[in-house]
Symmetry: C2
Subunit: 583 residues, 2 copies
């Protein structure tokens, strides 16, 4: 071992001891007669001192050659520090060095290895191995490890077995695009990388594994949106002989366990909300309930006057922004512009100030009197001093727009507190969703999601109204998990395939082995999958996942550090029986 201690553990109790440390040179202050070096490793920083009165000339000269990020080993005595630093655990001591070995030199790093770096995103990605030396990145990776360990401990204690499912599987054209892997030994054939182990976990249930989980990489060849990765990690879980309530209970337990062990936060029983209510109250199936601003539907109290825009709208709906009555005309105009940006897409915004003195002032005073506006206030739960913002139009669109406004205002008002955790189950998702493009229904989750028994008759008459035994776990406005109870009997399954527009042959072609497996005694089962990257980020108080991933890819799916993907040589292509098809 190149050290007797780490750079994070020495304190005043070690004063007088001879110790050995190794690490990176974080900072050097050279006063000539004295040289201080901050030595850094994963565990912390310890101050080293070289002093011409107490150190040899040779040692002083050697210390003077050190540069940032040199790797060194020092031996020396722990002494009390003159000017103590109460902000770090080692701040009471320093090490008077009597031996210095330079284990490796370093070029000047392309950005500073500090908590706040001068390096831009691109540079940091290219030199990710240096970026990882910075506390904000390193700490997130350590945090991710802790979350993973706690997930495994909890589930293992609950009797779940982690089973590794294969990565080289079969491509199915359904769903998102697969990444594929040409097989050299099976000419002209391809494996696919799993988008999720969905089929395998269901097969494990058929196989009697009873409680399965896996923290596993999944792959989706999608055009990447911001903060999406082509490879991502899931906590994938499945249980047999369970109903929805059992799943909610176990995984509410898991989430509570994580919040307690990782964040030190105790949370009460998670509230539940139907998909329908979530859309109605928050315009969103993953509402952030850390704050209010619930939607107030205003159709009843707006359509009795001559305001044509509202009268023609399918939905008139508003929120009360706390303290917004004090906004200036200019501020409100900017807000109106903001909702009209194409990213939000509203055509305009009506507002009403509910002044501190109880009076109202609206942008539609021509049409609505104080009595009307008082009703708006009641519906939106506005308090004195609030600003009521009202959007109108097509129900789905206007809900999405108002949800975006709600989140923006919460952000601006500092209501989305990173250390405040508000989990929520959203339940009773629709089974099917209408796809405008293909003009048919798609499974909202996946084709094995079971409908609610009482809604099965609606499959014929009103498929869009059928609710599923499907649920999402939402944390602070982010979907962190989702799952369903699966169909385990052949009759319901084939009914579902019919409604999804699969012929018997297509269903057999795509899901044949699962359908076969279901012939041999499939138990009732259901499960859930958590997005591990996202979950970790949110528990870590962040909304972007990238720094919780050691080596992320950029938005073009490239790893700029290793420069992948890259070209293959002709020989490799030939072995794989492939030719490039580029015009």
């Amino acid at each position: 071992m190149y050290r007797s201690h780490t750079c994070g553990e020495l304190n005043s109790s070690a004063i007088g001891n001879q110790i050995t440390l190794s690490g990176w040179v974080q900072k050097i202050r050279n006063k000539g007669f004295m040289i201080w070096v901050d030595l850094r490793d994963r565990y912390g920083i310890t101050q080293l001192i070289f002093d011409e009165e107490r150190s040899s000339e040779e040692l002083m000269q050697k210390a003077a050659t050190l540069g940032r990020e040199f790797v060194i080993q020092v031996k020396g005595e722990v002494i009390e520090r003159e000017s103590k630093n109460p902000n770090i655990p080692t701040g009471e001591i320093e090490v008077l060095v009597n031996e210095l070995s330079i284990l490796n030199t370093s070029l000047t790093p392309p950005f500073t290895i500090e908590n706040k770096t001068d390096g831009g995103e691109d540079l940091r990605m290219k030199y990710r191995y240096l970026d990882i030396r910075r506390n904000p990145v390193k700490d997130k990776l350590v945090f991710r490890h802790k979350v993973g360990m706690q997930v495994r401990n909890y589930l293992s204690n609950e009797g779940f077995i982690e089973v590794e499912t294969p990565y080289l599987i079969k491509s199915t054209p359904e769903g998102a695009r697969d990444f594929v892997v040409p097989s050299r030994m099976n000419e002209g054939q391809f494996y696919a990388l799993p988008q999720s182990p969905q089929t395998f976990k269901q097969l494990l249930m058929v196989g009697g594994m009873d409680k399965y989980f896996q923290i596993v990489k999944c792959f989706r060849d999608e055009d990447l949106r911001a903060d999406r990765q082509p490879e991502f990690t899931q906590i994938d879980c499945e249980m047999a002989f369970v109903e929805q309530e059992d799943i909610l209970s176990i995984f509410e337990g898991l989430t509570k366990h994580l919040l307690k062990e990782v964040n030190g936060v105790e949370v009460d029983k998670f509230p539940r909300m139907t998909y329908e209510d979530a859309m109605k109250k928050y315009g969103n199936d993953k509402p952030d309930i850390r704050f209010g601003m619930e939607f107030g539907e205003l159709n009843e109290v707006t359509k009795h006057k001559d305001f044509k825009i509202f009268n023609e709208a399918e939905l008139v709906v508003g929120i009360a922004v706390p303290g917004g009555a004090s906004y200036s005309r200019k501020e409100i105009d900017k807000l109106v512009d903001w909702v009209k940006r194409p990213q939000v897409g509203a055509l305009g915004m009506v507002y009403a100030k509910y002044n501190e003195d109880g009076s109202f002032k609206s942008s539609v005073d021509k049409f609505y009197d104080e009595e009307d506006l008082a009703q708006w206030a009641e519906k939106t739960n506005a308090k004195l001093g609030d600003l009521i913002c009202v959007l109108s139009g097509d129900t789905n669109k206007v809900r999405a727009q108002l949800s975006t406004l709600r989140m923006e205002m919460a952000e601006r008002l500092g209501l989305r507190k990173a250390d405040d955790f508000a989990p929520l189950w959203v339940i009773d998702f629709p089974l099917l969703e209408w796809d405008e493009e293909t003009e048919r229904y798609h499974a909202m989750h996946h084709p094995f999601t079971s409908p609610k028994i009482e809604d099965i008759p609606l499959l014929e008459s009103d498929p869009g109204k059928v609710r599923a035994n499907a649920y999402d776990l939402v944390l602070n406005g982010n979907e962190i998990g989702g799952g369903s109870i699966r169909i385990h009997d052949k009759e319901t399954q084939s009914k579902m395939f019919t409604h999804l527009g699969f012929t018997k042959e297509e269903a057999k072609e795509q899901f044949g082995f699962l359908m076969n497996a279901f012939e041999y005694g499939a138990p009732p089962h259901g499960g859930i999958a958590f997005g591990f990257d996202r979950l970790t980020a949110i528990l870590g108080g962040q909304e972007t996942i990238r720094d919780f991933i050691a080596f992320p890819k950029n938005n073009a799916g490239r790893d700029v550090m290793i420069d992948a993907p890259s070209k293959l040589d002709e020989e490799q292509l030939k072995e794989l029986s492939l030719k490039l098809n580029i015009e």
Copy 2:
């Protein structure tokens, strides 16, 4: 929940209780007036009873329709069993059923779901989800989970951080063949799946992560030998600021921890053996030291007579097979035939019986007298009653042949006991190995393995003699782990590349990003990787890995259950800018 208890937990303390069970019908005995059903789930088997005196006629009729592997739920009373079965935990009780729901029917399974099944390997693989219901397979998967948890707990307690490294990386022509993944977004370019996270774990050390581990899938597109899988799992580990001794100590600790926690076995400090000694004493760099039969080199005591075969041989070497002196002439002839099979490849075998009365009888009595043979006995450590088997020829070949014979005899004599664990460190591996085909030296481990400092001068004069800071952990004759201290300075690294025949450009092309990283302060570091499939199998007392993998592939790299790999449709190929190149 479909049950109040599992099928493995009810015993006499539950007698009189009303309970609910769910599971699969394992066995039915229908006497007409009484029907017994063995109900099975992951946790065990509970006997159900339907009795015409105590059950309704309707219930009797329903029970009579049950078939093997039907999924049922029963409610009933726990009662004392008349003929108790002491072999199972639930053997004292049975459940008098008063309610039966058939949750799912089952076709007759293609093989019996019993510990000893009538299903052949191919059928079992095709219906793997049924095979997993059998205890021997299910128990191995549960066992694997336990091993994995213990690995993670030990390493996490030792301060290791599990960091997920990417799966979509860059292809390098060096080493085994990569599986590649065409990138749709980067036309004509490919990712590769990792053969191991070697580069990334070294980058994590450069990044200051200090102690890294990961249980991770790796991929190698090799022509498959028996018991090899194209995807396999490693416990991959790396540490910074360490010397070889530190790695051996930590991972000896891990292995002891596993043996203790998983197998209940306490093992002393692991013996160590140099590669040279292992080859000399066992003809093998992964010797099984659970038994003796060490090699005795006989050159000195055989070359003084007129036996031309020995006189011309580079090496004459023997082992003493315990009790072998009693073998008949016919048995010995069969043994000679066995070593001459092409799989072993010996040209012949000389033997000498060391009879119980102290006399000798050899196949070369013409050349060697009792005094000579007594020397053979001394060199091979033969006891009264042993058979000395002697092979001769080219050193490397004859060692390999005698090693094969040694293992075979141990197997036949029952000396390879599954519950006996004999770990061994093999150290001081050669740095380089001569490749006949390309007529140059290859890195025996990989090009970043550090040579022993004292051997560096030999790099010029006698490269084959240079020893590396490389080590393997051997358990019961299987390599379960291997690793090395890495080169962390540029000078040694570029010297190595020269000796491996890489030009500067080639080294830069293939390892450029790692070489770059090393410019910015790489710490001394080293690591090890365990084959998780193999480790688990050996701890589980088996030598084949297949049943420790939930969904293994066959020797053609196919998953016969899901029928992968398979053809892609034209559209998919086109999106990937690929064409098949099949003549």
